[in-house]
Structures are given as structure tokens and as C-alpha cells.
Symmetry: C2
Subunit: 148 residues, 2 copies
């Protein structure tokens, strides 16, 4: 703290900010009546096609997790009433994962809360700063992602 030349390591810094966001998110999800949604469910809520549903494989591909991991999240969310799995009419192997009404409500609530969090950060440290952080992060993530 007293060493002016010391730069906080970037992973620790980003993790702190992430945890701050996650903490706020789930606190408010709980307040909104979605206390049973966990962080690991993000691979579903974050990537599912809210209109037409998605396949497990596509959620796995998009989220970067394995089919098994996403499958477990889906199974739990189905048990909790956020999802339904329906047979795919075009492919006897596949199932289409659909949000239920409650699931749609939860997904929209989550998005709303994320927007709120960024808005609050904007009040606290300046809108330009938050926008700049997001923009830089998006560009870096994109660059690194394409290099994989």
C-alpha cells in the first residue's frame, strides 16, 4: 500500500471486480426471488436462445464449458423449474432446452441487474471510466479468444 511503484497484479484486480459484480448480482437475484440460481448456471442463462431454445452442445460450445458441465447445470435448472427439455423434432438424438416463464423472468432479471451494476459503477467512478473498462476488456477478450 505504501509502495508507489507496485502495480496490483492484473488478474487479482480483475477477479476482485468480477467478484464484486457477482456478489451484487446474486444478492439481488435472491431479493428478486431467484435465490436458487447459482453462478454455475451462467453457462445456460448467458447463452441460451430465449426465443427458440438451444441445444446442449451449442451452450457448451458458446460458454466454453464441457457438455457434461453444462448438462449438470441444465439438469439442476430443470429441477428448479427454470427450464424444460423437449425432444428435437428434427434430430432424434437432440433435445431443445427451453426457458420456462420463470426461467425467462430470471434471465431478464439477471440482465437488468447487470445493467444496474454498471450504472452504479458509472455513478461511483464515472461513466466514461466504466465504458472504457468494458470496451478495453471486450477488445482484449476478442483478440485473445481468436488466437486460441
Amino acid at each position: 500500500m505504501t509502495d508507489l511503484t507496485y502495480q496490483r497484479p492484473i488478474p487479482a484486480l480483475l477477479t476482485d471486480v468480477k467478484n464484486a459484480a457477482v456478489g451484487r448480482l446474486f444478492a439481488r437475484m435472491g431479493d428478486a426471488g431467484f435465490g436458487d440460481v447459482r453462478e454455475g448456471h451462467g453457462c445456460v442463462f448467458g447463452f441460451i436462445d430465449m426465443e427458440h431454445g438451444s441445444r446442449l452442445t451449442d451452450l457448451a460450445e458458446a460458454s466454453g464449458f464441457t457438455k457434461q458441465s453444462v448438462g449438470e447445470a441444465v439438469a439442476e435448472l430443470e429441477r428448479l423449474g427454470y427450464l424444460e427439455r423437449r425432444a428435437c423434432p428434427d434430430d432424434g438424438r437432440a433435445k431443445i432446452i427451453h426457458l420456462t416463464d420463470r426461467g425467462r423472468e430470471a434471465a431478464l432479471t439477471g440482465r437488468r441487474i447487470f445493467a444496474e451494476i454498471e450504472a452504479e459503477w458509472a455513478e461511483e467512478v464515472g461513466a466514461e471510466a466504466v465504458a472504457a473498462m468494458r470496451a478495453a476488456a471486450e477488445r482484449i477478450a476478442e483478440l485473445e479468444g481468436s488466437g486460441r
Copy 2:
């Protein structure tokens, strides 16, 4: 990707950027001959007093992990030759954790690599953008940290 109104969730975004940094860090640590250093060792390297050493409890406090977790990292790093635990002259319960020469070398190498990574990002997306990202992240982390 095609939905222009969709904002990538901030935790996923920050995690991607963090993982990009971590990936580069450990690849280069390996190249530099420190292939046995793992991410979990950051709670030591990131917070240890390089001159006078640190106590386990202080590392735990500073890093935000439990004493047990930090203790395990310290034990492993001691086995690997990066640290030494010496009895504390002022307190018979405590031990002072010191970096060995090799440990100091590793710590400095890590810091150098972090600086390199940010410099590379600066080339790719602009120095102002990276600086803005860091500045915003630091302010947010500080605000959230103080509210705990």
C-alpha cells in the same frame, strides 16, 4: 453476436481477460524456468514482503484467502525451493516466511511479465484503453473492498 442490444455479462468478460493474462503469465514463467509455479501461489508471491518476509496470517489477510489455503501454498513453495520458513524472534508461535534467491527471482520475473502483458495489450488496443481499464478496475475494487 448478432443481437446488438446484448451486452456481454461483465463477470464473463472480466474472467476472459483475466484468463488471457494468466495464460500468458504461466506460459512465460515456464519459459523462464519457473514451470512449477502455479496460480494458487499468487497469494504468496503477490503479497509477501520481499525484504523482510511475512507471516502466514498477514499473507492470508492481504490475499483474502484462509490461513489454511495460504499455508498449503507456502508448504509447496518451500518444498520447491522458493521460500524458507524461519522462527520469528519476537513471537514463538509465528514463523517468518522469506523468499529464497530463487523465490525472489521468480517474484520479479512474474512482475516483469505482468508489465509486459499490459504493454502488449497497450500495443493491441491502445495504451489509453488499457490504462483506463486498470484505473477503473482499481477504483471499483477499492470501493467494493472498503464496503465489505
